[in-house]
Symmetry: C2
Subunit: 224 residues, 2 copies
């Protein structure tokens, strides 16, 4: 049974990735980070998802962060969703790069052949490190910069959600019974989701388009 490291934030996309990896027959090793994110609700969701699947191994890496984002600095306010084309203040510098780098190290250590990451370049917040170009460039780094890569067995990065819309991801998640009722998407991380940040807005729009009811609790759904 091949091993897969699955980057698990606790959000909708990463939970769907974990379910896909299990469906695809991998022995899964979820990997989460406690990186000074604004709230720990996401991490708690990750733990609940791991429990749901009765997975024994869940690596949580405690790590310092480099600041500079509304998701990590408490003195930068989380903005409302505006759908602007620029890179927003919720962008965490090099976050996926750091997470994938750890995943590579972990995969090498436990001899996993693939890494699942739930990046998505359709209904996303405009972060440059969610795009296929980034993943391709990163795979080249694995080929030349790791033991397995140099020896001809590079770890592969799997991005099964990259070309799906949020509605398509939600439909897929329901088909494979991913525990999306346990996920957290809201950037604010209060008990109930705010319903107005980028992440809530994309999630709500996705559920609406998919014609599926989101069972997560919201303070309000959208700006109205």
């Amino acid at each position: 049974m091949s091993r897969a490291v699955v980057l698990l934030s606790g959000g909708l996309d990463s939970a769907t990735c974990l379910s896909l990896a299990i469906r695809d027959g991998y022995d899964v090793y979820p990997l989460s980070f406690d990186y000074g994110q604004r709230h720990k609700k996401e991490l708690l969701s990750a733990k609940k998802i791991v429990e749901y699947y009765e997975i024994k191994q869940h690596k949580i890496i405690q790590t310092g962060n480099v600041g500079g984002s509304a998701l990590t600095d408490m003195d930068i306010e989380v903005p409302e969703y505006k759908g602007l084309p620029s890179i927003p203040i919720t962008y965490v510098p090099a976050r996926n790069l750091i997470f994938l780098s750890y995943a590579v190290g972990y995969a090498e250590t436990i001899d996993a052949s693939v890494i699942y990451i739930g990046v998505n370049a359709v209904d996303y917040s405009g972060y440059p490190d969610c795009r296929p170009e980034f993943i391709e460039a990163f795979e080249k780094v694995i080929k030349v910069g790791t033991k397995g890569g140099v020896n001809g067995k590079p770890i592969e990065i799997l991005t099964p959600l990259v070309n799906l819309s949020k509605a398509e991801i939600i439909k897929l998640a329901c088909e494979i019974n991913a525990p999306i009722h346990l996920t957290t998407s809201c950037y604010k991380g209060d008990e109930k989701a705010c319903g107005i940040c980028d992440s809530c807005s994309l999630r709500l729009k996705g559920f609406e388009e998919a014609g599926i009811v989101d069972t997560v609790e919201y303070i309000k759904k959208g700006k109205d």
Copy 2:
């Protein structure tokens, strides 16, 4: 004055890089890691080097490690130097990849234009992530996966030591008055350097070839 993030382990090569960055007129931001390495002597050296230059900012990122190396797992023994062509057990999976990823995030946050890293592909331990191919592939990741890269101002990785022999690095360090008397190279990290691990062996050979006396204390110099 442009800012430079300098990866500073506390060893000979990174100390030389820091001195080069200062000589080149950068406002330097040393970045070190407390990653569960076998010993903290290296980190102590990094702190002494920062004090030596009276640098105010020294970011030390506390971070979990992924295991799988003699440099981080206390139950894997540090081997004696044998000069074998294979990748040794002291290889830490994805270490430079993780360090550079953080450096990119930090550089984006503080608006630094370059990152100095003291990788060397001549007198080195055979780690794949010390080679120019790795650095080139990583620069491509920066171009497509970061805010600055996407906006046309990618952070540059500077590797001034990559093609120098250890003897040449030592000569250069002396020319620019790098505080190499404060550095730690030994993998074991006891009070005195062991003199027989890969890192000590390469260092001792370098000093001998350079015709310079290493003022660091050793238990014994070489296997004799």
